[in-house]
Symmetry: D2
Subunit: 345 residues, 4 copies
């Protein structure tokens, strides 16, 4: 058994890690760190864990981490970048779920309005999207876990390398929708039930920090300078995220080529499910699971391809993907602890 500590112990990311790791044969969560709450047990903060988990919340500090095999930051932006360089050891695997290590130093300053982590840390961190760069993940001790919108978007774009229309005009449109848990646990007017229920609302238009992350890695994947028009919307539901991605494809490409590209890319991937022609994913179809479901619609009349990509924002969009990365880093079966059925209905 490897021992795991989780920073951000009272957040939703930590909750999902506890739920998923409970079924894991090689991992055990032994520490929960929080700066908000200490001197209380996690079940006091989350009564649904009564009788299940008695871990005490404690402050993160170097001593507390020294016997851990794994440390996961399920923290808001700004925490991991302060701690990673202090806590790293050769025999400590670190995964950061926040955006701290995903961008270049310059992009981070622009979009997160804070000083970034050191260049050395940024250089070492591997972007943990196993479907793209599994080999690097397996070698890494420091993983930058992708954001929720980037995960759904990049899995929609990864197979398109050869198919993207190649004109100076070409822009990819990503219309993203997320459940309210994506906005985190803090109580704000935006997350107030009476405001959010029976409401569909764009938020952070033009300013979402996932935009540079998607552009950066989509460009890396396709060897082109990809430009994205990105909108995010809040859906009156707790979990679930969908990106409807619109891509102009090269004129000579047909529907069969597109399907073939996706089928090839994902035929051996345990968590990406390419749906048959005429079928689109739903967020409920992946509820509570680590799947990313993808559906395709190519419109010959316009030459645009519509890709719908659905994940559970808290699982494949955060904690499940972290566990998938951890499995890869340790040479375990990548699905270990992650094969629970989607919860339906």
């Amino acid at each position: 058994m490897k021992t795991v500590g989780i920073a951000g112990g009272t957040g939703y990311g930590a909750l999902e890690l506890l739920r998923l790791i409970q079924n894991h044969r090689h991992l055990k969560v032994v520490a929960l760190f929080s700066h908000r709450q200490t001197e209380m047990a996690i079940y006091e903060e989350y009564p649904h864990l009564t009788g299940i988990n008695n871990l005490q919340l404690e402050m993160l500090h170097e001593e507390a981490v020294k016997d851990l095999d794994v440390l996961i930051f399920a923290t808001p932006k700004g925490v991991a970048k302060e701690w990673v360089h202090k806590l790293r050891r050769d025999d400590l695997q670190i995964i950061d779920l926040s955006g701290d290590l995903r961008l270049s130093a310059e992009e981070y300053r622009t979009w997160y309005k804070e000083e970034p982590a050191s260049d050395r840390i940024l250089g070492e961190a591997v972007y943990g999207l196993p479907e793209w760069n599994r080999d690097l993940v397996m070698e890494s001790r420091l993983i930058s876990n992708p954001g929720c919108f980037p995960t759904a978007s990049l899995l929609a774009l990864l197979p398109l390398k050869e198919l993207l229309r190649d004109t100076s005009d070409s822009t990819i449109i990503i219309d993203g929708k997320t459940g309210v848990s994506g906005a985190g646990r803090s109580s704000t007017p935006l997350t107030h039930f009476s405001n959010t229920n029976e409401n569909f609302q764009p938020y952070k238009t033009g300013g979402h920090q996932h935009l540079p992350e998607i552009e950066r890695y989509a460009s890396a994947m396709t060897d082109k300078e990809v430009k994205i028009q990105f909108t995010t919307h809040l859906v009156p539901m707790t979990r679930g995220l969908m990106c409807t991605v619109y891509v102009p494809v090269n004129k000579e490409i047909g529907a069969a080529d597109i399907r073939h590209a996706f089928a090839s890319a994902y035929q051996n991937e345990p968590f990406v499910r390419l749906l048959p022609d005429g079928m689109m994913p739903t967020t409920k179809g992946v509820y509570g699971s680590n799947y990313c479901d993808i559906g395709l619609y190519y419109n010959e009349n316009t030459g645009w391809l519509t890709i719908c990509s659905a994940i559970d924002n808290l699982v494949k969009g955060a904690s499940g993907q972290a566990l998938q990365n951890l499995n890869a880093m340790n040479g375990w079966n990548e699905t270990e602890g992650l094969l629970g059925h989607p919860l339906f209905p």
Copy 2:
């Protein structure tokens, strides 16, 4: 007082007409027609009307219509086209909320899989989007009321006539989202609460009958052959519809030109509210009302404009717009009966 009859008397469209017309100074609903239910009063079908409305449901027939001033078809496709030519009179104003009179004969056959209305009827019917063609509406006795997605989409596109990028490649992307009431009143697996709640799902991808309607009138508005990539999604809420519209604009156009075009187009429109820079509409902001709220975001980096357009699908997307048309046709104030506040929260 002019007398109104409503066909499709047990549907949601009729309900909204009853609610809105109740406040109208010149109209009174005196007949409700239904082929599903007769021999019962509307309040037996809809208990919330207990003590409010005792109208009996009756079969639609020529005799029943002969004393009416106004007849509104709030029926599924296929009903109006059978009845309009039989019932029309010089002194009868007819409004059809269904899709029967919105397309060319050929398009109707393709998308609705039925024989269309006669050419004469199709030729006489005026598409009732007053913000675009108020003058024609005012002259008309036969109105084809726009669909819900077309209303939100076309109001987003109307001011763009001069701004649309003019290349052979250019396609407009419309990402539509609607509450479940848009799927009508019939009980189907799609509208089942346990399937729809906590779910976000595309539907009818590539096959939505509102696509040709949007292309047809967007082309008419802009004098260009507009191509649309259109996706519709079901949101776990009852009311509300948003179209996120992505438009490639001409290179020489700037954000100020765009805002000016929208401001000019809508400065005197009572029901279109152009939101200030940095603000996007929400569906709850128009809940139960006839407003269409519009927000703009121009991305200089990509050259694409994002327009969010929100309506209540049952009001501005159906019954409210019908009433607005009726007001225009009769020379009344166009806002008569339509100034109720959005219901919030």
Copy 3:
């Protein structure tokens, strides 16, 4: 036109007053007071009022009130009791929507943990439930508007005066359920969407401040010392409130007597709708309206009567009832401004 000022101008109660009074022929809202926000217009706080209402929020003070005909406190507890004695005038009608004036001084201290209003103010305030004490309301200049649970509960109990079982053991059970807007506008863990959605949860068990209010007025109505076992639950919806009330009835009473008592009590009431045998109300059946719908089920086997009583917590449970009281106080038709249909679906 009488002029109205509203204290608590950014709360849900004020919003509903604005919505309802808009349709009122004799009232006009001319001032909105807030201690949280000033120097901004109401539509900046609530964008759905853009283009509809431009009133500036201002601080409440004596000067600002001096030309008003009506002042409504739609404030949290503790505000009205500080201001009423300072602002009252012979020609100012005051309605308090908070709990400040509903209890005896002693009860207020126990349940609200604050010093009550003066005995004089408490003595003058009339509990504004017109179905019970219309005559007093009509004479009053100072109305204490009932709470939401008390309104639904007392309207369920009012006709029972003669029917209540008369034993020392007899207790009435009130099982209350409310939408989340009942918890007000502040953003708290309880009102967070991710916590409240897909959740049904009791709250304030045994400690809800509406319990003494119900016991006090139920006792006054029935001339008995009524004891209540009261539970309140939060329903994952925004609006709507239902009390399921369980009453042990006297042995000699039958179902027909019970129905007769309710029918007699409410036959001339414009806002209480007694549903026929076998039918129970729903909260959606009164959505956005001032109705209170009541259904009855008498179980001969147990001798207990079940009464379901449904209101919109923000209308008949707050602002609508305030307007109904105001209509009564001014000798206007009690339904003025209050006849909008319930919004369905």
Copy 4:
């Protein structure tokens, strides 16, 4: 590995069995029976099972069952009673999730309006509430799995044997609330999203078939003739069930006695969690899990005890309890396959 067949293979009960048994070390589902759908795989009916489960749906018949170790009826009423006597074998364990075997022959005729199973079958069937009659369950080959409301209600009442007030007048009040999945998978006006969302509605008042089931077993548990006043309500959520149970207790009993009775009854039960004083359960606290959470509030002023009892209607209220029974019948750890965390948020 024991092999399991499930009748009612396309219903929600079967879905939950598939989800739970996937994690079970001794069970494997090998057959899904359906009379509605055959010639298709379960993942075609439920796309969320794509890539997870390829079982073909087949007709139930004697041959198909002959090699099974376990047969579970997750069928509507009326199916199990027709099949059990044909299919039973000494080495076949049968569990019926429907109401077919829960009542006496006479009660079944009254409440289910059909002919009951034979006296012999009814006599052999053991009511599978392990917290009450574990010993009988362990000996049985034919289990009648409790209904969802009865499970929550009976677990609330079981510890009260000695505490119930002992007067001719005494009635227990059970105010039940369930998510919409409790109404099953068929698409009806009641389960239509637009009707159910933002709505709280009683249903089947006085006529719910779970009433006689609760009265029968509550009486058996307490050796008294227990009378129940029972109301069921539909909550706008998919999963979750709460019973708020009101019990008049003997005068000499105090809060400490009550707590002691519950603590004693459940101290060794793995799935019943007694919450501390001042805390009430929520349905989300047991979401997707087999827990039943119980909270207590004793009101000295009225002498009534309020018990809130929360379960997931599809787990402890149906499929989870079936698996718990199956574990007990086979001498396995009763928690096998059932320790997944509640899904939160």
